[in-house]
């Protein structure tokens, strides 16, 4: 039987049991993961996963279930339990599913793994590490991922997305004599393996830096200065900002500082943030949002002005705000016209922050971060790698005090981000 027909029958069974609205998602994932452990090829892991998620609304009550045993008996038992469970829910008029849309199928990326190329790419990386950076200990994985994702609902939504991509991750630490560095890591998704892994993004530079970081010093004293945030650091801060102040979580819990600020300038005018889920440069694109709409390219922040609240149906209905682009999937921050080297040379006193260890900023945006793999800058020059230094900033201030954005951008396959130089950060040492 055609799988789509089979899934449509599951929706029909739920409707027959009293469900008024049904969403269904079915996915399969196959992974071939090649692992370097203790600097050597060590593990080849083949994974087959599948899942079925059902969400139903009845009398404006909602309940969900997810299972991965998809035989008829298991699915029937799940339906029975789901329809029992929904009776205990309470009603909210905000629960809804996406409206009818044209069916669509998307296919992106390689559909077949090149195992020989994976082994040769990973072996080449290991050989280069051992040759060029013998003091560095490391693990790494290179994975071929192939996914099929079907989303249907009782309003007639029927989307199928087939994706294939490679994913590389490595974690490394330097040790010279009895002195050692902090660990650092990098990872990204790839469309192909044509470029050596060491030469992609900033892998070689990050590993070169780690070999300098076995000798670190504290900053000379507490000070207020500039911080240059590496793309992967400022990306994490940006995700927190969006989630806490513009997205579902911030609006639904009333913790957003900007609950009614559409079309208002709330951040630095040098900042433009795009939701670019289908950017051709990305190895891991998104075609359908989790609330069953097609993804859309649109600016979230344009020259500091809030253009959209990236919210799903429930939040939209609950808050009365329009659902426009839906939850953001892939962020692209437009780079500036300043080279990283110029950015550094323009800093009187500050820090080049290549990694930061921090938790969720508190509700008003304050956060303290321990700076890792980072460098003290004085009079436009990198002076030394630092130890035991904390940075205190406010999340909203970070994106309101941008001095410049770098020309260089980092593409991790899901986001594209530049370096950002931010003014007035507080640094404290032991």
């Amino acid at each position: 039987m055609n799988r789509h027909t089979e899934f449509a029958q599951i929706i029909a069974k739920l409707k027959a049991r009293g469900a008024e609205k049904v969403s269904l998602r079915v996915w399969t994932v196959s992974e071939e993961e090649f692992n370097l452990v203790y600097k050597e090829l060590n593990l080849l892991r083949s994974v087959e996963k599948q899942g079925l998620a059902l969400s139903v609304i009845k009398d404006q009550k909602q309940a969900r279930t997810q299972l991965n045993q998809m035989d008829e008996a298991s699915v029937d038992a799940a339906i029975e339990e789901l329809m029992t469970s929904i009776e205990s829910s309470n009603a909210d008029p905000a629960f809804d599913i996406s409206p009818s849309q044209e069916p669509a199928t998307f296919t992106d990326g390689p559909m077949q793994m090149d195992a020989g190329k994976i082994v040769s790419s990973l072996s080449e990386f290991a050989d280069e590490m051992k040759r060029d950076f013998p003091c560095v200990g490391f693990d790494a994985t290179l994975t071929f991922m192939k996914t099929k994702d079907i989303q249907m609902n009782s309003n007639g939504v029927d989307y199928e997305v087939n994706k294939g991509y490679y994913s590389f991750n490595t974690m490394f630490t330097a040790k010279i004599g009895s002195k050692m560095s902090s660990f650092n890591y990098t990872g990204f998704a790839l469309k192909d393996l044509d470029t050596p892994l060491m030469e992609m993004n900033e892998t070689r530079e990050l590993i070169r830096q780690i070999t300098q970081q076995t000798e670190t010093k504290p900053i000379p004293g507490n000070f207020k200065g500039e911080v240059i945030l590496a793309p992967f650091v400022h990306g994490s801060l940006l995700v927190s900002l969006i989630s806490q102040h513009f997205g579902d979580s911030g609006l639904i819990t009333s913790s957003s500082r900007f609950p009614d600020h559409l079309e208002q300038k709330i951040l630095d005018e040098k900042l433009t943030v795009w939701n670019h889920p289908r950017d051709e440069r990305l190895a891991c694109k998104e075609f359908v949002t989790f609330d069953n709409f097609l993804t859309a390219d649109a600016p979230l922040i344009e020259k500091g002005v809030l253009k959209h609240y990236p919210i799903a149906i429930f939040t939209s209905n609950k808050t009365g705000k329009a659902r426009t682009i839906g939850p953001v999937e892939n962020l692209v921050v437009e780079g500036g016209d300043t080279a990283l080297a110029e950015m550094i040379s323009g800093v009187k006193e500050g820090v080049l922050c290549m990694r930061a260890s921090f938790g969720s900023p508190n509700a008003n945006g304050d956060l303290s971060a321990v700076l890792k793999n980072s460098y003290y800058i004085k009079d436009g020059k990198i002076r030394f790698p630092i130890s035991e230094t904390m940075m205190s900033v406010n999340l909203i201030d970070v994106f309101n005090r941008i001095k410049s954005l770098s020309r260089e951008v980092y593409n991790d396959g899901t986001n594209i981000l530049p370096y950002v130089c931010v003014m007035d950060a507080d640094f404290s040492c032991k």
Binding site: Y38, E40, N42, L43, L44, R45, S46, V47, E48, K49, Q50, G51, K61, Q62, A63, R64, Q66, L67, N68, Q69, S85, I86, S88, N90, D92, V119, S123, G137, F138, T173, M180, S181, S182, F183, N222, F223, T253, S254, S255, R257, F314, S357, F358, G359, S360, N362, A363, N364, D366, L367, S368, V370, K372, S387, M390, S392, D426, F427, S428, K430
Partner: protein, 460 residues
């Protein structure tokens, strides 16, 4: 989970291999401002086979929980090992073993509650918060129950069938003060199914009242000063210190990759009053939050005394790390999902309680902080750590002062442990932790309160 007859297809002799059948189940119920926004269940089950051949591993997994399915993944796992072995032949390596057999199924012995009854329980709590504290801008009450059921057979004689549950109830409160949002939360429950942790919602009312008072204290909160201070870390923070800052550096895979702990075996690294243990399953005759009796490699799980009287004494191991370092097995190999390979993971990491009283520890500090709740934590191979602190108070002249705004503390754990001068006589476990290391996995953390020197994040 219907246990498969895996022994039928276990082949004696030859390469070392593991067969695993596993199902992870969860239930999530959450009220947000009176609306049940989450009412869901999930179950993810499948099978896995892992083979060790000439120094490399092959692994294959599938959701197909049948004997033909298992035979298929066994063949695939062997083929994967052969493929890698052809590239990197390390010759025959024999892995150490200390196999054990047992069944550890922690299903509740009480009458199971229906989903409707659990929702009603939450509704009572939500109503209590809404009625008593109408000034809150947002309230959330949620339950997550997780169950991990595993059946594992190894070719060197290990066999374990386990079902390890835990149930966590979270209460979140938010208020607005001078236009700024304030947030606080409490976590309750731990090891066991819902019925083993919760009975009458009124039992939690006093904890909810305390939570609200602490949230109100935050209205007057001041910024902590940046710099190094004498502090009392309450049990939850001492637990996360044990786990993040010390525990990770002493996982043998980190040691092999260059962790600083590799330099310190049998050397003094802490004040002699400090003893730190990764407990396998039982402490003080009580089952710990994440009990492990036999690990995912079929190894007998033993307590790993990492620091004894201030000396670093032992690392945590899986079979491969124990073989490489020539040390004894500890039973720390665990995988999260059916498809995951076992990694070296902590179980229940704790500092052993001392003889001091918390009030005396606070009274002994002239200018410092009493730090109570962690929000998160990370650590490094150097033992440098950072923890978010979501609740803490100033200590001035031995007396608690104002609450402090949320902040971050940091330090180098092996330095910090030398500054520990007092350890309280209380023991508290935190059971809600998830540790990320390629895979996420539940962990327990515990301890008494400790007095030590800490770097505070704050205004310069």
């Amino acid at each position: 989970m219907k246990k498969m007859q895996l022994a039928k297809i276990l082949l004696p002799g030859g390469a070392y291999y593991e067969l695993k059948q596993q199902e992870n189940r969860s239930q999530s119920l959450a009220f947000l401002n009176g609306t049940l926004v989450s009412n869901g269940k999930s179950a993810n089950g499948g099978i896995m086979s892992r083979t060790f051949l000439n120094g490399v591993w092959g692994l294959a997994s599938s959701a197909d929980m049948s004997l033909p399915g298992m035979e298929k993944v066994m063949k695939k796992a062997l083929a994967n090992a052969e493929l890698l072995s052809a590239k990197v032949n390390k010759g025959k390596i024999v892995l150490p073993c200390n196999p054990a057999r047992g069944e550890y199924l922690f299903f509740t012995r009480k009458q199971p509650w229906t989903t409707a009854a659990k929702i009603e329980y939450l509704k009572v709590l939500d109503n209590y918060v809404a009625t008593k504290y109408p000034d809150l801008s947002t309230r959330q009450v949620a339950i997550n129950q997780d169950e991990m059921e595993k059946y594992i057979l190894t070719s060197d004689g290990g066999e374990v069938h386990s079902m390890t549950p835990r149930t966590i109830l979270v209460v979140v409160m938010m208020a607005t003060h001078n236009g700024e949002p304030l947030q606080h939360y409490g976590v309750f429950g731990g090891f066991g199914q819902f019925e083993d942790n919760f009975e009458d919602p009124q039992d939690l009312f006093a904890d909810i009242d305390k939570l609200y008072k602490e949230l109100m204290d935050k209205k007057e909160a001041v910024f902590a000063k940046g710099g190094t201070f004498e502090c009392v870390l309450d049990a939850k923070l001492a637990g996360i210190l044990s786990h993040e800052a010390i525990g990770h550096t002493t996982e043998a895979d980190f040691v092999i990759n260059g962790s600083i702990a590799g330099e310190y075996l049998d050397k003094p690294i802490a004040n002699e009053i400090v003893t730190l243990i990764d407990i396998a399953n039982t402490w003080d005759d009580k089952i710990c939050p994440v009990p492990v009796f036999i690990d995912d490699e079929g190894t007998l799980a033993e307590d790993c005394v990492i620091i004894k009287d201030g000396y670093l004494r032992r690392y945590m191991h899986d079979k491969e790390s124990a073989q490489i370092l020539g040390q004894s097995l500890t039973g720390n190999a665990r995988g999260y999902a059916y498809s995951d390979e076992p990694l070296i993971r902590m179980r229940n990491t704790m500092i052993v309680p001392g003889n001091d009283k918390l009030k005396d520890m606070i009274a002994s500090i002239e200018d410092g902080y009493y730090l109570i709740n962690p929000s998160n934590g990370q650590a490094d191979a150097t033992s440098e750590f950072m923890f978010g602190v979501s609740l803490g108070y100033e200590i001035k002249n031995g007396v608690l002062g104002k609450a402090i705004k949320e902040t971050t503390i940091s330090g180098v754990a092996f330095d910090l442990l030398k500054t520990v001068t007092m350890i309280s006589d209380e023991m508290n476990w935190t059971a809600a932790g998830m540790c990320g290391k390629k895979q996420m996995i539940p962990v327990g953390m515990g301890g008494p309160a400790i007095k030590c020197k800490v770097n505070m994040g704050g205004k310069a």
